[in-house]
């Protein structure tokens, strides 16, 4: 696709499939629509040693999205074997808790967040499963309503990702917007090169997403760091960009990871990415490499893509330059 056509498509997608959680403030309306469409919604929180934040998530989600507004039909904590009081805290507030290792025992046990997400498909009954990480300090019902609403409202959308505003400081109305360090350093350059349409996703690695069962049951799950990347590539390959949506959930406060940890994460993601290139038969038939790098800027709640041409021109070895050879008396 020509760069200009690509940019137009991305612009249109940003207009139609990018939301702000504020658009879905009326939870009652969402509940009515969900009931009208006879949808069941499940919420899964994958955990590993999250005793500090899990209690608050459960209290707030149960109160706001089950007791006050019955948007969520069931809700489970699926744990990878926490050594702290995660499960005790979770069950004390009435959450259904499961050890991933005890679900589907006949397939064995692999340790990793992706394993919990995958086994949730077996355990939970919803037509839509909402995944929310357990390490969010500023938890709020919008972390669920914001990402499930596009799926309730629009039958074409199958996979909705959260993204967050992460302003450090900005002086004018326009601010650079993007993902975390791994997204900006690894994922966005890879997508810009190989799958430019996917650069429309502002934070492809965010741990909060809502997906239809019909999609979840048909895609494989890396159990480690690559699970989000694999999902995006596989859903894109099968259903195209139109299947995605993304919602701005404002700020997310969580613990920061060290550069070492991000290095490990990047290594896992890169494995997943290259495996996908192989599976799609792209390794021997690499597409013509794009030279347009795509980032984002935000103004208010409006996002637009910034494109920049980056051409890595290469000079030949100096020894091939006649003037150089003459100056240093280099003969054949």
């Amino acid at each position: 696709m020509e760069d200009c056509a690509m940019s137009k498509k991305i612009k249109k997608w940003l207009e139609t499939n990018t939301f702000h959680h504020g658009e879905f403030w009326d939870i009652l309306k969402l509940v009515e629509l969900k009931e009208k469409k006879n949808l069941k919604i499940s919420l899964c929180i994958p955990t590993l040693n999250e005793e500090k934040t899990i209690g608050k998530e459960i209290v707030i989600f149960r109160s706001e999205l089950m007791e006050r507004y019955p948007l969520i039909d069931e809700f489970a904590v699926i744990d990878s074997g926490s050594e702290d009081k995660t499960l005790e805290v979770a069950s004390s507030f009435g959450a259904d808790t499961y050890l991933a290792s005890e679900l589907l025992p006949e397939v064995g046990d692999k340790r990793g967040k992706g394993e919990n997400l995958w086994k949730a498909i077996y355990q939970l009954k919803g037509d839509i499963i909402v995944y929310v990480d357990a390490d969010i300090k500023n938890i709020h019902p919008r972390f669920v309503t914001g990402i499930v609403a596009p799926l309730i409202q629009n039958d074409t959308i199958k996979y909705c990702k959260a993204f967050y505003d992460r302003p450090m400081a900005y002086s004018s109305g326009i601010r650079a917007s993007g993902g975390g360090r791994v997204t900006e350093i690894l994922i966005r350059p890879l997508f810009s090169l190989f799958f430019p349409e996917l650069t429309s996703l502002i934070q492809p690695l965010s741990g909060e997403f809502a997906v239809r069962r019909e999609v979840l049951e048909r895609i494989p799950f890396p159990i480690g760091y690559g699970v989000e990347t694999a999902h995006i590539l596989d859903v894109y390959k099968e259903w195209g960009l139109e299947a995605f949506a993304q919602t701005d959930l404002d700020q997310r406060v969580h613990r920061n990871q060290s550069t070492n940890a991000l290095g490990k994460m990047s290594f896992g993601i890169l494995q997943t990415f290259i495996n996908r290139l192989k599976a799609y038969g792209m390794v021997d038939r690499l597409p013509e490499l794009a030279t347009i790098y795509r980032q984002f800027q935000a103004e208010g709640n409006r996002y637009e893509q910034l494109t920049r041409e980056i051409v890595e021109y290469e000079r030949p070895p100096m020894i091939t330059i006649p003037a150089y050879r003459e100056k240093y008396g280099i003969k054949d």
Binding site: E51, G55, K56, V59, S63, K85, S92, G94, V253
Partner: protein, 388 residues
Amino acid sequence: MPKDFETIIAGLPTTREALQPAREILLANALMIGEIPSPTNGEEERITFLGNRFTEDGLQNISIDEAGNGMAIIPGKVGKNNILVCAHADTVFNKKVDHAMSVGPDEIKGPGIGDNSLGLAAVVTLPEIFKRLEIEFDDNIILMGCSRSLGRGDLGGIRFFLKNNKLPIRAGVCVEGIQLGRLSYSSIGMLRGEIDVSVPSEYDWAKFGARGAVAIMTKVVHRILEIPIPMEPKTKILFGSLNAGTSFGTQPTSANLRFEIRSEKEGMVAEMRSHIQDIIEEVGNLTDAELKLSVIAQRKQGGLAYAHPMVKSMRKILSALNVKPYIEPSVGELSELIAYGIPAVTLGLTNGENKNEFNESIEIKPTFDGLSQLVAILQAIDGGLCDE
């Protein structure tokens, strides 16, 4: 609605049991309120949250007044009288403080959770609680989150409301998150003041007896401590904060002392103020520094009698819940209600620690006793059992 006290007391265990399923709703409200920073004079966002909740619960007359108070009415079956249930919405923490709350199986931790996120959450959750308990009152219940209560706010919210309110108020209940067993029914005489010491720029540092602002303020503090204070009726002078200087080796040119005088004796606060005024004038003359006393807030002494039916009812309710009453005069919203001749009490909902510290915490379990006591006293007021 029960019309005799025995029925109300007998219903306490059932109320406490029936409140259990509302736990998540109460705690979620406390958490969400607690995570909205709400320094005095900056309560708008918390009050908006309150208003949204009142709207969701279908209450009437939902409004935010000019002083920033948020309120709504649960209409009564008869509606001739009104009972005010209020909680202050401000905290001592500024907006830059991390307001994240953490939840354990037995406690919640976070700045301001006890003073007064839980109290405000209880007010917000009352409509849901009444619905679950299937309680309807004859009187209207006015639910109110008060703005500008603490420190320099000087009860600005409740003062504005009482000055401009047109509804007859039969009684008031002020709700605090901590401590369970607290029973305030009187207002203590109080003066909240500041002393500023400022050394003029032309000050002669070489002069005999020349001192920096810290030394001058220290002298003032020493002199105040020498004021004879009676043991009975209880009177005390509390030094709340002292700020002065900038470094190790620079003469400080300004100092600020915040203090409160509290007394149960009529006229004692004015007498203490006069002593302090004399002291600062004398020290000012001796040192050539400028000393100024500013009054930030004052409360008049007054209140209900220990034998007032409302106080008696509260004591009986606490006793039925096996909670030891902790009698404490108040300088909060209660003092304004009393000044307007409205019988009122302040009560606490649960046990807590480290009030007004960053690691403030509350216990979850006793909250159900706290809420049961609140429901019971409202039933007693509504049934006419607290009228004199």
